[in-house]
């Protein structure tokens, strides 16, 4: 037998100790002076490190990101970014300036066009586009960060952190980094002698820096009711009557967008008139959408757990602690990892929108020239085979799909789209742009957001297609064409087959659901402006200035 090879078993810990020694030799304690942050970053980060720059679609460690982008690429290069979003200009600067070379992420939103360009120029290597929970999972397996640059509301002298309402991804990132030999650096908005509550204990945090301005937060989930159209009201009426009511959906997640905002604003009016209060939409995995305020105030909503907070909703959330999760200090506690888990396993329905859908029901928000990623949609818009507990909605969907003896239920995964986007771009297409993007990205798979076999229903202005009831791929294709309106895909329908699907209740039009088109009016919305939302909240909701026009 060979003697066991000599191996060093604590190389991560030793590497961490050397990094901390380098920082100490430059005179750094735990609190870093703001004008020396670049010195610190260059001291503790090494070429080839995996770096997580905290940011998601809401709060951003923007000061640390800009500081990292200002580091010397001769010293820091070949960094591999493992992070939820690539949303800030400085995130992209890291690649353009030669500091970072590889990216594993979930969402790129506003930087989607710049990202696509970098990919075409082969200046960035994309590992994969993930859903959030999947990326968090990989933090604990093969993508553990060496360096976490995170954003907190406040730190005390010991380095304990208070995260405020926007906890978001911070716990998942710090857990993975701090317990696997990594270094955690936090930018904070303020230093306090006593924190309102301790969200991260000091010994998980190596350095804190008081940022020159509060971290950026995007009010991503605020939708102005004034922009909701009557077509969206019509679609919302169909969704409520044809899906929410029929399945008795109580536990759900809504995507971002005006389509689902319209549903939220019809709960106190249309849904209440249908006698659905207490029967639908009681428990939510949802950010505190301002458009949910009227439903909460009307008593529709029992509980909301949030991925993050929303700018302007702080005082309202704090005053509604029976509904929202709040800390001992009274302010909201959000947590993306746990809310995504709720979205996966505890929700009976996900309803969201997309930019493109093909004839198998596959959908993608990645279109030519824009790589936007998916965020949480692939997770919440999937039917989890690990689920074991039953609920009426889940059972009904499962039995529709597999017959009365089905041994499991199905999550309702609903895609809600108008058949044309702006500039008459059809949503329904023969082939997703994702396939061409796969080639330009050199990726193993096309960037599909929600797989067609997970989709249960499609809602368009033309009606609802129930894909659970389709028995063949051909039926499925005609069901999709049958609600694709006047897009080329919709015009190419087999009219006879579509009428047959309608007779069988697989396709249902507004008139089949007993909906009078004259009722599809903005008058049906519980709030028709941001000011109405403020009024509903009793003055507690404080919308950001860009949403104020009074």
């Amino acid at each position: 037998m060979n003697a066991p090879q000599h191996r060093q078993w604590d190389s991560l810990r030793q590497s961490r100790a050397r990094r901390l020694e380098r920082a100490a030799s430059l005179g750094f304690g735990k609190e870093i002076p703001v004008d020396r942050i670049i010195d610190l970053l260059e001291a503790v980060i090494q070429p080839g490190d995996r770096v997580c720059l905290e940011g998601n679609n809401q709060k951003q460690a923007d000061f640390l990101s800009e500081s990292l982008a200002d580091c010397d690429p001769a010293r820091l290069h070949d960094l591999s970014l493992v992070q939820s979003v690539l949303a800030l200009p400085s995130h992209v600067d890291l690649f353009e300036r030669g500091l970072a070379s590889r990216l594993d992420f979930s969402f790129s939103g506003p930087q989607g066009a710049r990202l696509a360009k970098l990919v075409q120029q082969q200046r960035i290597e994309i590992g994969a586009i993930h859903t959030y929970l999947e990326l968090f999972g990989r933090y604990f397996l093969d993508l553990t960060p060496n360096i976490a640059l995170i954003a907190a509301q406040a730190a005390d002298a010991d380095g304990n952190l208070y995260l405020g309402p926007n906890t978001e991804d911070t716990p998942a990132i710090i857990e993975a980094t701090a317990f696997k030999g990594g270094i955690v650096i936090a930018q904070v908005n303020e230093r306090l002698d006593k924190l309102p509550r301790v969200d991260v204990p000091a010994d998980w945090v190596d350095f804190t820096v008081l940022a020159p301005r509060p971290n950026y937060i995007e009010p991503l989930f605020t939708r102005d009711p004034a922009q909701i159209t009557e077509v969206q009201v019509l679609m919302a009426m169909m969704a409520i009557k044809g899906i929410y009511a029929e399945y008795g959906v109580t536990r759900l997640n809504h995507g971002i967008g005006f389509d689902t905002a319209a549903i939220e604003l019809l709960l106190p009016t249309y849904a209440a008139d249908l006698g659905l209060k207490g029967k639908i939409c009681t428990h939510w995995a949802l950010n505190p959408h301002p458009t949910l305020i009227p439903a909460i105030e009307s008593g529709f909503v029992q509980s909301v757990h949030s991925f993050g907070s929303e700018v302007g909703m702080e005082a309202y959330v704090a005053a509604r602690s029976d509904v929202f999760f709040t800390g001992a200090d009274g302010s909201m506690r959000s947590n993306r990892a746990f809310s995504q888990t709720a979205g996966l396993y505890a929700c009976d329905m996900f309803i969201g929108s997309t930019l493109q859908m093909d004839l198998a029901g596959n959908s993608s928000t990645a279109t030519l020239g824009r790589i936007t990623g998916f965020g949480g949609a692939p997770n919440m818009g999937s039917d989890p085979h690990g689920r074991r507990h039953a609920s009426p909605a889940w059972l009904k969907a499962g039995r529709e799909a597999a017959g009365p003896n089905a041994i499991r239920g199905r999550k309702l995964v609903v895609q809600m789209v108008e058949t044309f986007r702006e500039h008459m771009a059809p949503v329904f297409v023969e082939e997703l742009d994702a396939w061409k993007l796969q080639k330009t990205m050199g990726a193993e798979l096309p960037p599909i957001m929600i797989y067609g076999d997970d989709v249960s229903h499609i809602v368009t202005e033309e009606g609802i297609a129930n894909l659970l009831l389709c028995r063949t791929p051909e039926e499925r294709e005609q069901a999709i064409r049958g609600v694709a309106g006047f897009t080329p895909v919709g015009m190419a329908r087999d009219k006879h087959a579509v009428e047959n699907l309608r007779d069988r209740g697989i396709i249902r039009r507004a008139e089949d659901l007993g909906i009078d088109p004259r009722q599809a009016s903005r008058d049906l919305l519980a709030a028709r402006s941001v000011k109405d939302l403020v009024r509903w909240s009793g003055g507690l909701y404080a919308p950001p200035s860009r949403f104020r026009n009074w």
Binding site: F420, E461, G485, R518
Partner: protein
């Protein structure tokens, strides 16, 4: 500006004396006036639109409307500012329901 004229067969419907007006001329929207026409089994449509080159789509949207509604005996005038087919279909259904009356 483009002017389009169509005529579709359609099941005869109620023909009240009062015309109905629905919608507004605004970006992405349209105004529809429905009134009594000459032929009881025909729906005649006159369109003024700011978006040129969508004649085939108009024909499909209006043809589908005439086939699925009892719109015979009407003349429909449309002033359009780039409404999508979704908006056009909804407005047509609203305007006809308004014209023919009946309980909501």
């Amino acid at each position: 500006m483009e002017i389009l004229e169509f005529r579709f067969d359609s099941t005869p419907g109620a023909r009240p004396n009062h015309p109905a007006l629905c919608g507004v001329v605004g970006s992405g929207n349209l105004e529809i006036l429905v009134q009594s026409g000459e032929l009881p089994d025909c729906c005649q449509v006159h369109i003024k639109t700011s978006a040129r080159g969508f004649g085939t789509t108009w024909q499909a949207v209006l043809g589908d409307f005439a086939a699925s509604h009892a719109a015979g005996g009407t003349t429909i005038a449309i002033n359009d500012m780039g409404a999508t087919p979704a908006v056009v279909s909804l407005r047509l259904a609203q305007a006809l329901a308004e014209y023919q009356g009946g309980a909501q």
